[in-house]
Structure formats: structure tokens, C-alpha cells
Symmetry: C3
Subunit: 341 residues, 3 copies
């Protein structure tokens, strides 16, 4: 299943072992000696693989699946295909994540500093650091123990990267301090100048950008995302926050912990997000706004005012979600009623 | 016209030769001995250059053009400037494309592996491969005959690139199998982890991303576009599909053949596009949706439900195009009628 | 304040010197001997630092600020915190920009061509050029006096970069001519093929892209932005225009001088912007449109027709701003009135 060209399973595991790592309740005929060696999608997983169902859209595939074991919610137990062992969880996607992590733990290659990397003699490299060919590590930069720096990545002077980070290939890091276990995907740009100009009839005056980017532990940043450094204050990304591809984080933005920010989202300058905010793809937030803890911003929304804690907003200008959909339904009735005129 | 600093014409060609390569009907006084050595815009093409008109917006420029020959549709023949030879086609833009390709065929530099590239000894390089300085080719990777790998591009372990591809500079390719004659522009990221997390109150659990990216023949991928690998299934781009700049293709997305995807489009995870789908710039598609063959999604649309074959949709939430525009017209009348209140 | 790990102040300055560089009127007890050594935000600037207030949202922070000097508009003088020297200006953000530039002038490192850069012997390098490790400069390229080429940046054959430019790391420049004092941030792509295909039922024919990108003096281009070269005409960016991160500029687009283009904006092919146009984040412009001088396009707008000089537009399809907001207010009243039904 997982292509051995690219992936190597750490299995096999018994059902009891899988229940242990995932916290699932297990049902099966052979808890100890049946062995599972991989995970895979419902449609292609075979008798030695573990699959999962989380989205009702795929119940048909679930009922026909040939997977040897399936992670599922309790209410789907009755519809499970005959012969599949069951791993039952109230949070099946999370349980599956833990099982998949057991089969495919993060890679830890042997420490190696490529002789084709360009490392300033004043840079400090921790134990077990890996640096791939073409990477550049500038004066005074610090790379924590166990961190990987990908090929052709550029780490500017003074940057600090914590322990056990994965910095992908072709990345640029500047003017930033990065925590532990941060994953930065290829093409990410961190720390460049914010878009700070004092407009004027004779041209726009550049405002020097004198802050930094501070990134907490366990943050993940998607490919080709750009995070500008602060203009004076810092730009901050809180611990555990996950950012998807091609996201734009402007200067002075402060993002709390454990936020989820989908692809192509844009946040204007000085926006503040509290913890556990979720933002759908291509949404945008105007400058200087405050987004309360647990707020959700639907995909493509354009947020033009503060969002209270826990509220879901949608549309442009974004408004409370139930109100938006109710008004849209009314509008559609109204415009249909107009049809005869 | 085309700046000789950057481009070298393979001309000259006679009108008969141009008619042959393009399938045009030709009208002119001197089909054999008049020679054309370049192509160019209507406003600047001179007597030895070929231009074209495809967009009615430019009829004025067409009527005043000094081009020696013009590719055009039959109904514009009567408005052609005196003295211009005419290359008549029902598909003038396509005919012009073929003529421009004759003048400027794809470059094939001499095979050369830069001594400043970093190529693992276990990588397999085909005949006539060119690899520019700073490129990194990992263990077990395969580069097909005649393929170019641009400067500072990183090809991760195990990646397969087919024959006669052009991989631009500063690209990252990982966990992917790429067909023949694929063009990948600078800054493209292929194969990084999809945005897969099982959310939870205590933080978000990473779901290992165990699929690949499969890219068909003749695909073109624009600058700084990011295509994530599948979570378990593969992410697939069908043959002949063309993708513009800064596009986000999430994990498990399956795109058919000959789709056209404009700049900054975003597709959420597990979306399926059939063949010949067209998507305008900045449009977005929610997760797990199915877009039928030949469907068209207007620019900036937010698609929230399946789109049937051949349908055009627009707006957020996207709806059938004629309905959208009719309702908008009604709405505008309604709100104007309200003006006196 | 500004982290000495990354920034080095050129201060200190007296109030009289600060008034001189900024054109401010100054009020303070000690114009000559009090010394200021930094700039900083209202909330953290101390007695030796200069801060500013420009956005009314921050009046509270202003009133409580411990900054030694504050740049402000005349009408806020009465609310200034006791003890702060005042630098009064009708354009306080601009005045602060000039003061910050005095403290932090653009860096000019010592000229140095890294021995790990790959420079073609036919490339021409001006006086005082700096080229960082891993950079590639192709045959016939020209780099102007005092220009910096960042690490792992690729400058393709024939490209001309003017004097005193800063080209960041991991950038790709091709088929372009670039003016003086241009700042190009990391990951920018300039000059790749535009998205030019003649669609057809049997597949899409590639149209060779034979123009260039011409970039005027004092332009700034944000991280991971992509600017395609022209198809035949050139793509043009006028002098003094500032472009933010992740912007998509398609082929043949002509942008005037001193435009401000925010993050994730997309312009389709052959769009023309006159001087001093401002575009908010994530807005898009359809192909071949003309945007008059001084026009403003609100964030997330989708522009589908020409915009006259000086007009502000918003929404999709974008319309004149006052009309948009008036109609939206009416619509909301209408749908509320419908609530009882």
C-alpha cells in the first residue's frame, strides 16, 4: 500500500498493540497473533492493513472494504464488513492518526552535515543535526539538537531553530526564533520585511521593519507560505498551530495556540487570533482585528470586524453563520418569487 | 520583436510553410518568396512578422496593424489592413500557437551535468539529461532522457521524472512519479505532507501522509504552485492538464485530463475533477466534492456542492451561472426600487 | 527594543536631528542633549525610544505610552502622555518612516562574491556587488553596482538587474530587465512562461511566451510572488510600485507607477493599471481590463469591468463602493423585514 519506494512500515502490530497505541476498544477473533503491517484507504486496504471511516460520505466504501481492521465510531459497528476486526473510538480519525504514527514514525536519519552545505563558522549546530547539500547557515545562527535542514534552504544570520525541527528544502528563514518540533515545508518564507509603506502623493516611503517572527513549539507551516516579520512588535505563531500551503501572514499578526489555518488564507497586519481559531481556505481578515478563542471563519470569508469567542462567521462582509445562511435562503425565495414579474 | 537577448527565431518561413504548420487557408500575393522571421503583437509587428487577432477587444489594433501576415477568423477578413497577407482559421489562436511554436520550438540545450550539482550515486540519469548548478538529486531518483533539472532544484529520494520534462529552478519534488513532457515552473512544490490533522481539545494529532503525487504526461504547473501528496490514496493530475501560478492542490485530489486551472485556485482535500474542467482564478472547491467533465467554475467562485457535467457555476456559494446572473439582475432592480423609501 | 541579534541602530539622535530628518515640528524640554537611540511600539518603547501613533484604534496605548518621544498628528497633542517629547506632523506615519530609516538605514555589507556562487564567466558584475553562496548567475546576465544577490537565487541568462537592488534568497529571475533600487523578497519568481494555451477538444496547445518582464526603479516585490513574462508584449511594473506577498501577475499585465498591491491579489492577463492604483488583499481582476489612475479596489473584490479613475470598488462582481454598501444595508433591512413571514 504505502509505496515502499518512499515509505517503510515499522510494523507489524497485533490488534492488542493497535488498541494500546490508539485507545480504541477492540473486537476481533484473534487479538494477539493476527498481525497488521500497514494502513491504507478503505478501497485498497487488504487483510493485513488497518483502515478507518470518519466521513459518512464513505459508508459505501466502508461496507465493501476488504481491510483486515477498521477504526470506526461506535454507531457504525453494525454496518462493518464481515471479517474485519474493529477498533472502536469516539474519535476515530484521531485514533487512526495514532495508529498510522505507530506504523510510520517520523524519520530520524543519521546525523550528517553535507560537505556541500555552506555553514558559517560562527553558527552553532546541536547534536544529531542533519544539513543537506546546498543549505546555507549564516553567522551566529543556531540549529537545535536533532533538527534537519533541507537542501538549498537558507538560514539567515542570527536565526535560532529549536530541537527536533524539520526544515524542508528551498526554505528561507530570517529574523526569527523558532521553537521545538516545528515542521516547515518546502518553499516557506519566514521573516522577510512586512508590507510597510507610508503612502504619499510623491511615492510611498518604506517603513523599516524592525520586529521578528516568533514561532512556538509543534507548529507546522505549509509549502510556500509566507510569514512576514513584525514592523516593531513581533509576528507570533503560538504553539501547536498548523498552517497550510500558500498562506499569507502579515507583519505584527499574533496567532494563538492550536489554531488551524487552511490553504491560501490571508491575514492583514496586526490581526490577533486567540487559541483554537479555525480558518477555512482562502478566507481573509482585515487589519487590526481580534478573533476570539475558538472562533471559526468559513472558507473564502472576508472578515471586516472582530469575531467573538466561539462564533462561526461566513461571507463577505463576514457575518454570523446561521444568520448568513438564513438570510441567503430568504433571499433565494424572494428572488424566485420575483420570477413571474 | 522577441528580444534577441532572450529568444532566437528558428525562421524564416514562407506563407505556404506557415499555412502548412497551422492548417490555415492563406491569402497573399507572394506565397513562396515572401519570408517571415518572427511573430509579434498587432501593435508592433512589422512587415516580416506574423500577428493574430482572437479577441474582439483588439479589432482597432487589428485594422491599424502593420504586420506582414495576420492569423484571423473568416469573418474578420473584410476588415483586414491593406497589404497584410491573411492566414485564415476557424481557431485563430490555436493556429497562431502552432506558428509561434515553429518560430520558437522548445529549447534543447546540449546535455550537461553541472559539476556543481549534487547527484547521489544511486540516482539514474537518462540520456541527454541536463542538470544545472546547485540541483540536488537524491538516492534512487530517476531522471528520464532529455529532461532538464533547473538550478537549485531539489529532487528527493525515489522520485521519478519522465522523459523530456522541464523542471525549472528552485523547485522541490518529493514522493512523486512524473510523466513525460511535463513542464514545472520555478518554485513549484510537489509531494510535501498534506494538511492532515485530527483536531482535538488538547491539540491536533498529525496524520502521517502516506500517499504519493502522480502527474500525467504533458502537464504544466505554474510558478510557486503547491501540490500535496495523498494521505493514503494518491494525489493525481491527469495528462494534458495545465495549472497556473500559486495554485493549491490538497491531498487526495484527483484531477482528470486536459483541465485548465487558473492562478491562485485552491482545491480542498479529496476533490475529484473529471476531464476538461476549467476553473477561473482564485476559485475554491470544498473537500470531497465531484466536478463533472467539462464543468466550468468562474473566477473567485466558492464551490460547496458537486457540479454536474458541463455546468458553469459562479459565486459563493457557487450556483449555476445563468441563475446567478439572473438573480443578481433581479436583486439590483429590487434594491434600486427600494431607493425611494 | 529592536533585537540586537538582528538589528543595529545607527543612533543616537537628538530631537532637533529627528525633527530635521522627518520634517516634524518638535515640542520638548531638551531639544539638543536628550538622546534617542531606537524606535519602538507605543507599548514597549522606553524613555530613549521614539514611537508614533497613526491609527485611532491605539489611542489608549498612546495615552499610557512610556516612549521618550512620539510622532503624532496635531489633534492628538492634547492627549499625549506627560513627559513625552512630541514630534508633530500632518503625516505622522510618513514622518515616523523617515525617523526609522535614520536609525536603521539599508544595510550595505562589504562587497563579496562568494566562492560558492556559480557565476558564468560571461556575466557582468558591477562594482560593490555582493553574491551569496549557492547563487547562480547565467551567461550574459548583468548585475548593477552595489546590488546584493541572495543565497541560492538563480539569475537566468541575459537578465539585467540595475544598481543598488536587493534580490533576496531563493529567488528566480528570468527573461527580465530590472531597474535600480528594486527590492525582491525571498521566493519571488519573475519571468516564467505565462499561462498561454489555445484550448481545444483534443488538448490545449501551448502558445510560446515571447515577451519579457520590465520592472521600474524602486519597486518592491513580496515573498513568493510570481510575475509571468509577456506572451508577446511585455509584462511591466512601473516605478515605485509596491507588491506584497503571494501576488499573481499574469502575462502582459501593465502596472503603472506607485501602485500598492496587497497580499494574494491576482491579475489576469493583459490587465492595465494606471498610476497610484491601490488593491486590497485577495482581490482579483479579470483579463484585459483597464483600471484608471488612483482607483481603489477593496480586499477580496472580483473586478469584471473597467474601473474609472479615482473610483473605489468592492464586492463580486465589483461595483462602486458607496453603491455596494448602500445596497447591502437595504438588503439587510429587507431580509430582516422578511423575518416574520
Amino acid at each position: 500500500m504505502a509505496d515502499p519506494r518512499f515509505f517503510k512500515s515499522a510494523g507489524s502490530f497485533s490488534l492488542t498493540e493497535l488498541a494500546d497505541v490508539s485507545g480504541c476498544e477492540v473486537r476481533g477473533d484473534d487479538l494477539e497473533t493476527a498481525k497488521f503491517n500497514d494502513v491504507g484507504p478503505l478501497t485498497s486496504a487488504g487483510p493485513e492493513a488497518v483502515s478507518f471511516i470518519d466521513n459518512r460520505r464513505y459508508v459505501g466504501e466502508f461496507e465493501r472494504s476488504g481491510a483486515g481492521a477498521i477504526v470506526l465510531a461506535p454507531d457504525l459497528v453494525g454496518r462493518a464488513p464481515a471479517g474485519a476486526a474493529l477498533l472502536i473510538s469516539e474519535a476515530p480519525y484521531r485514533a487512526f492518526a495514532l495508529i498510522a504514527q505507530a506504523f510510520y514514525p517520523p524519520e530520524h536519519g543519521s546525523p550528517e552535515i553535507s560537505k556541500h552545505a555552506h555553514i558559517d563558522p560562527t553558527a552553532k549546530l546541536g547534536a544529531g543535526v542533519r544539513i543537506h547539500p546546498g543549505a546555507v547557515v549564516g553567522p551566529g545562527a543556531e540549529i537545535g539538537d536533532g533538527t534537519l535542514v533541507g537542501a538549498n534552504t537558507v538560514i539567515a544570520p542570527g536565526v535560532v531553530v529549536g530541537k527536533n525541527c524539520v526544515v524542508g528544502s528551498n526554505v528561507t528563514l530570517a529574523y526569527c526564533l523558532i521553537g521545538e518540533a516545528v515542521r516547515i515545508h518546502p518553499g516557506v518564507r519566514v521573516g522577510q520585511d512586512g508590507f510597510g509603506f507610508a503612502p504619499g502623493a510623491g511615492g510611498h516611503e518604506k517603513v523599516p521593519q524592525l520586529g521578528r517572527v516568533l514561532i512556538g513549539d509543534d507548529v507546522e507551516i505549509g509549502a510556500n507560505t509566507a510569514i512576514d516579520r513584525g514592523a516593531g512588535p513581533d509576528t507570533v505563531i503560538g504553539a501547536g498551530t498548523k498552517i497550510d500551503n500558500l498562506v499569507h501572514i502579515a507583519h505584527n499578526v499574533q496567532i494563538g495556540g492550536h489554531c488551524l489555518i487552511a490553504g491560501q488564507v490571508g491575514t492583514s497586519g496586526s490581526v490577533r487570533l486567540e487559541d483554537f481559531v479555525m480558518i477555512g481556505g482562502q478566507a481573509g481578515i482585515s487589519g487590526h482585528l481580534h478573533i476570539g478563542p475558538g472562533a471559526r471563519i468559513a472558507a473564502q470569508s472576508g472578515v471586516t470586524k472582530d469575531v467573538p469567542a466561539g462564533q462561526t462567521v461566513v461571507g463577505f462582509p463576514a457575518e454570523e453563520s446561521k444568520s448568513f445562511w438564513r438570510k441567503l435562503a430568504r433571499l433565494n425565495r424572494l428572488l424566485k418569487g420575483d420570477e413571474g414579474h
